[in-house]
């Protein structure tokens, strides 16, 4: 059991993100906003790391800028737009719905719809095909009597 649990735990990965710096913000909202933004903004240098996680020079510059703007009481949207103006949509982990990103939203929905659609379509088709008709019933009775007759015949033959 112990080993089983150990093996099971090996399959579980844990991610720990630590932000080294501590900053003095005027209030909790500002601190919270900085935390949110530093997790949501993406480092332009190290792919697939947010700016909290990265120690690249540019990530530090982005963090410093976020701190500066948060302390000026700028809203979250303002700060995100400020970064997008400079580093493009790449810098934000939540891409907006535009013509080129629409496919990200549409394809999964289409996929699910197509899947359910085809399951329902197939079920309907097979249920209509297996209708029990009068003709089938007649065929069944015919086969049963035939079988019964046969077995009676076999018994009689073996009895002799």
């Amino acid at each position: 059991m112990k080993y089983f649990l150990f093996v099971l735990l090996m399959g579980v990965s844990t991610v720990i993100l630590a932000v080294e710096e501590s900053h003095s913000f005027a209030n909790m909202q500002q601190a919270q906003l900085f935390k949110e933004l530093s997790l949501e903004l993406r480092c332009p240098k190290c792919q697939n790391q947010n700016i909290a996680d990265s120690n690249a020079v540019v990530a530090k510059d982005l963090r410093d800028k976020v701190i500066e703007l948060v302390k000026l009481n700028k809203s979250k949207d303002f700060i995100v737009d400020y970064m997008i103006d400079r580093y493009g949509y790449f810098v934000h982990y939540k891409p907006p719905v535009t013509a080129s990103t629409l496919v990200l939203w549409v394809v999964p929905v289409l996929f699910v719809l197509f899947g359910f659609g085809s399951v329902i379509f197939r079920q309907k088709k097979s249920s209509t095909e297996q209708k029990w008709s009068v003709k089938d019933e007649a065929q069944l009775t015919k086969l049963i009597t035939q079988y019964q007759n046969n077995s009676v015949q076999v018994k009689q033959e073996s009895g002799q």
């Binding site: 332009p44 240098k45 792919q47 690249a56 020079v57 540019v58 530090k60 510059d61 800028k65 997008i84 103006d85 400079r86 580093y87 493009g88 949509y89 790449f90 085809s118």
Partner: protein, 198 residues
């Protein structure tokens, strides 16, 4: 029977089509470069700045000094190995009549830790490096706090921008500039703007 056949064909071809679309998508991915980042500033005017010259004391540059000519802004630093490879090619471009303005990106300096910056040591280093590779720059803007670099959406070095005579940023290239990238990306736009053959 033929109806069922048709249905079967459809059920068979849909996954096949999806498979081929996926193939095309993944194949394209093989040749896309995730490091190819585009600044959000494309099509906009140069951000306002007021920064010192790298080599001359008391000389400052602003975005207004750059109006009226087509030029490249090349982001570089002596710490950047790719820049060392790129500099001789940029020097060739200068000889062909391309005006290149350097944006010197200082990476080591952090106002939170270092109190003062030794500009003289940096100047020596820069002269030493440009002596070896040739000097492609009309002049260098010294961006100690990386403020202009930040406003331009620079994530490292080398990076190059093409700016037209009205100060609008037309192209952004991350990574080194060489004959191939120049021909593919910059030359068409540049020729169009300057109306000269390069």
């Amino acid at each position: 029977m033929s109806d069922e056949n048709k249905n079967n064909k459809l059920m068979f071809s849909v996954p096949l089509i999806i498979f081929f679309l996926l193939c095309i998508f993944l194949f394209k991915g093989l040749f896309s470069n995730p490091r190819e980042l585009q600044t959000g500033r494309l099509g906009q005017e140069m951000p306002a700045f007021n920064l010192p010259d790298l080599m001359q004391e008391n000389k400052t540059w602003s975005e207004k000094d750059l109006l009226g000519k087509v030029y490249l802004i090349n982001v570089w630093g002596t710490w950047c190995t790719t820049c060392l490879v790129e500099l001789p090619y940029l020097t060739k471009l200068r000889e062909r009549g391309v005006e290149i303005i350097g944006l010197y990106l200082e990476q080591g300096y952090d106002p939170d830790f270092d109190s003062e910056f030794n500009i003289q040591a940096l100047r020596n280093e820069v002269s030493h490096m440009l002596d070896r590779t040739g000097n492609p720059y009309q002049y260098n803007i010294f961006d100690l706090n990386r403020s202009l670099a930040f406003d331009l959406g620079v994530s490292g070095a080398p990076e190059t921008f093409l700016v037209d005579s009205t100060g609008v940023i037309l192209l952004h290239h991350t990574g080194d500039l060489n004959e191939r990238t120049w021909r593919a990306k910059f030359a068409p736009k540049f020729t169009e703007l300057k109306e000269v053959k390069l």
